[in-house]
Symmetry: C2
Subunit: 341 residues, 2 copies
Amino acid sequence: MDAFEVNSVSVTMTDVAKRAGVSPATVSRVLNGNANVAEPTRKKVLKAVEELKYQPNLLASALVTKKTKALGLVLPDVSNPFFAEVVRAVEREATGLGYSVLVCNTDDRPEVEERYLSDLRQRGVDGIVAAPSLEGTSAMERVLEAGYPICFFARDVPTLAVTCVKVDDFRGGYLAARHLIELGHRRIAMVSEPRTVPSVADRVRGYRHALQEAGIEGETILTTEETSIRAGIVVAEGLLGPNRPTAVFCANDVLAIGVMHRLRREGLETPRDVSLVGFDGTVLASVVDPTLTTIAQPIDQMARAAVEALVAEIDGVRDGTQRIVFQPVLREGRSTGPAPG
Amino acid sequence: MDAFEVNSVSVTMTDVAKRAGVSPATVSRVLNGNANVAEPTRKKVLKAVEELKYQPNLLASALVTKKTKALGLVLPDVSNPFFAEVVRAVEREATGLGYSVLVCNTDDRPEVEERYLSDLRQRGVDGIVAAPSLEGTSAMERVLEAGYPICFFARDVPTLAVTCVKVDDFRGGYLAARHLIELGHRRIAMVSEPRTVPSVADRVRGYRHALQEAGIEGETILTTEETSIRAGIVVAEGLLGPNRPTAVFCANDVLAIGVMHRLRREGLETPRDVSLVGFDGTVLASVVDPTLTTIAQPIDQMARAAVEALVAEIDGVRDGTQRIVFQPVLREGRSTGPAPG
DNA sequence: CTGAAAGCGCTTACAG
DNA sequence: CTGAAAGCGCTTACAG
């Protein structure tokens, strides 16, 4: 308990006021710059601030203004390179607008997500950027109903009226499958996260649509609960066998890498034997050999749009919700090639 | 401004008190559980809490207790897979102990670091985990002098008396170089971040020590300001030419990947022509082909140690500083092989 | 065991 | 343009 004497930002606004010979209210006014203060007074105050190295206590001001200048960022797995980039980009944009960011890792577990949501509100964050774990989590709905500023990121829940920044997942899935079809593939499998994960269902639909459009019957969709390289390796089991596909579209890069490993281990070469497409456009895609063809998301632009939309809502500049949908782009690597035979 | 009516966690402790027919003080007591409250009273209160779905305002309690139950995490680049893992691990441990974490990305720029440090203090975070950008940043020193709980992570500043969790960087560098020497290499270069980056100097020293121990004269140390795959590609320029090394030790995996790419682009094969060792043990190392031999850091253990040490200091259970040094382990991939010829 | 009161460090009407 | 006062939502001695 003794530590406080030392730890706390101990010089207070009252100290500054005394030193400057004014009232605390005046100090507050010059620091916030939203009221008229006589120039000599302002100078005195600034001088005192300087001399005492005063730093305002944000907790105290937040208590009265109801603004913490902090944002929550709720993500399934920040160590997934896609979300790691998201953290970086959102943090950059938020900082640029004077906000700090609290990072929350849900592992896509709704209970965890719910706890975080509630904790973030107790902490009074001004808004939340979130990649929700399930369609229609009740916790999310409650937050929304409360009118709490929130922006979904990368994952959309179509049944909710919410601000959302994402990529056109349907089109992403479509681009991926069409690319493979154009290369002559007919047996094109998909490896997916559970379709309860928002946006995944759209990627699947896009994939399906391309297949149907090309008159291809019979799809193979493998699903894995977890998203990790290991999970990709495991789920790739279902791709082996005599009737194996000549191409695989994976719902994200991490799974694609796992699949690539497994195929190689089984003596199948990419793209000679099996072509592979990922999703997200992470660093992983450019680092593997062969480089992975992937559906890239413009993370930086998306982060900027999300933070701006959120802050606009916080500031009351914008009300009502909007969906901002970016176009994904097919980034061709060397993991895709003509269908064998 | 109207939004507040809706947004704020509007039911307050006073509301609960009224509903339960007690004083706010009593509500506070039952919620914090550190004072004796008669069983019937506690029940009434809990019932009211339940009915009103009351959630305490953490800002308000923090203002009086001086504890925000939040930690700052100051890192150079959260999109670097090593630090992305650090975010995940630190967040996990922090959450486990009831702390939230504010993530700050410095890009290794001292001015940015300084701003974050000051902002974190204004926000009253209870402690900070940081990978400092420069030896002896004055901002860091000031934070330390103020007695603010801080734990350096992965990067140490030997001149400061600070709690620090890291890997034995000297030994890491030594292990890397010795591994190459044992494979018969004599021309072993190193690619490094600037030696002003804490801990990098130790890796270099370890590398040097192994060379000297083996009686190898003439070292080559290339330095790059930035840490990115691109920077690795660029700096690898210096490795080419007739007298090129047969092995390269890179101060981190990201740079190693860049070097690997450049070598390949130049028609040099790893490990046939050039062996490569990285540092950190990130996912990148296991994903490239050939897999990268790397000096792995036990991130999860380190994160746990760091958060525990920090919280102990916050709780006043532990005072004084300590350095906790984990052993790095050489994780052999396929990027290292016998020296050619 | 419980309540009244003071106070954490700010901001903001309200007067003047 | 500036100050005194009230209040943000809690916690914590202090009485009883």
